[in-house]
Symmetry: C2
Subunit: 279 residues, 2 copies
């Protein structure tokens, strides 16, 4: 499996107060104008989304893969073929409004541009998937310490030994993110994330990483290692990088995704995804 570039993968967690207060529309305009930085903390309170665009010929397999693996692949919107518009963000252009993209051919990363108009095809169907930034907001609001944020690091992510349920030509391992949680906050962390089933929901595993086939928490496959405080329990959530792992494993002829940490800013508010999703 292709390993992503560690340097590029690093998302600086803190943004200046200015970017935190941006509207999603302002944030998209800045990214469209060329700003290429990470989006963690930008337009705080608004929902960020993973992007994966595949040719229409692969769209049914991708949608079915997401339906069969809703924890790692919670679908927030699917565009019509060729359209760069989404109901989740008025006036947005998915080809230009993300800070940085990844372009994949036959499962290999071939480019990381800040604009994909030159790569766009009329048969591309874009999937916007929920992102853990939404449940981190809920955890933080409930007083759960978020260690990787405290430490200014990108969340560590691991390829597990657990295979997703395949769909057509798409298969691949589940990828998880891991957060150390103090035992006294474990109940709150599980409850608050479970109340957000549209954005990964509750954890898929707690405790011994061997239960997911993960060898060494100090060597994540994506992101950065995080330091545990005494007594912290490792808690694992299904991760939106999973469809990228499926692209690497299944090698569709073409795909475009966001670059790690460079998400799509929607107009939706995180709060709208509590329990029900947006009507």
């Amino acid at each position: 499996m292709t390993r992503v570039n560690r340097t590029e993968d690093r998302a600086v967690i803190t943004v200046d107060a200015h970017a935190r207060a941006w509207s999603p529309k302002t944030a998209r305009a800045r990214f469209r104008d060329g700003l290429a930085g990470p989006t963690a903390g930008v337009a705080a309170g608004h929902t960020q989304a993973n992007l994966i665009a595949v040719p229409a010929d692969w769209a049914y397999d991708m949608l079915l893969f997401c339906q069969r693996n809703p924890r790692p692949c919670p679908v927030l919107d699917v565009t019509d073929a060729g359209s760069a518009a989404t109901v989740l963000a008025e006036g947005a252009d998915l080809r230009t409004d993300l800070p940085r993209y990844r372009v994949w051919q036959d499962g290999e990363l071939v480019d990381e541009p800040t604009d994909v108009r030159a790569y766009w095809r009329d048969d591309l169907v874009s999937f916007l998937l929920g992102c853990s930034f939404t449940f981190e907001w809920a955890l933080a609001r409930a007083g759960v310490p978020i260690r990787h944020v405290e430490q200014g690091r990108n969340v560590p992510m691991y390829v597990t030994g657990r295979e997703c349920r395949p769909a057509g030509r798409l298969r691949g391992p589940m990828v998880v993110s891991m957060r150390p949680v103090p035992p006294e906050h474990l109940g709150t962390a599980i409850r608050e994330s479970s109340l957000l089933p549209a954005v990964h929901g509750g954890p898929v595993h707690c405790g011994d990483p061997a239960g997911l086939g993960i060898g060494d928490l100090g060597r994540p496959d994506f992101g950065e290692p995080v330091t545990f405080a005494d007594g912290d329990i490792p808690v694992f959530w299904a991760c939106g990088v999973t469809p990228q792992a499926a692209v690497m494993a299944s090698r569709p002829p073409f795909a475009i995704t966001h670059a790690p940490g460079r998400m799509f800013l929607t107009d939706a508010r995180d709060e709208q995804y509590r329990l029900a999703g947006i009507d």
Copy 2:
């Protein structure tokens, strides 16, 4: 729009204690052997599902329609083309194990057999969708009176003036079920159903039916009228009949669905759909 046969639509709510205690496997065997009655209350505590099978050529439109309208169309499983098996029920055969089916050609109801082996096609993709029986169980357990059950009637369902978000060639109105709820139970009813986002979730509307474009609660489009107790508030939930309404409106060349009130018995337990769905 085709109106379904009122007599056939009537589901007797009470089943004998024997059928209530059946395992899902026993229930499926009885239906396979020709028992054609309604399934309300059968194998209590186990999840029942709406069935809609369409040709593979229409499967992407149907899956996208469900993704775009998750309240009325909560997908529990999608089969591979031609397969009559589902991960939700070991050893089940979707062609024989429901009590009664409806066969549709060009959006018109053409047959209501108890077995669809003669109609089966190798390109059929089956969708199993969540059913309100699951959240009724949760409401009843929390002490909310279920008026139509008390009155031994099928739940009243209404075609609303609210259009679903279309997907490809599929479009149609949202269909809702309505339950009168005493005001002192309204909070519980909303909370308990909201905790089941995988099976319709919380209500889409409360109070004046005109808000949904419904004229007369005494004249439901499917099911039977229910009597209100003094002070009861009408509460409306998105309904799994919606995809049948989409079939009637969009006229795919062929489709098979369950007959109203004659659902598919899965091995899953209702409790497993609280918040997270089945992993």
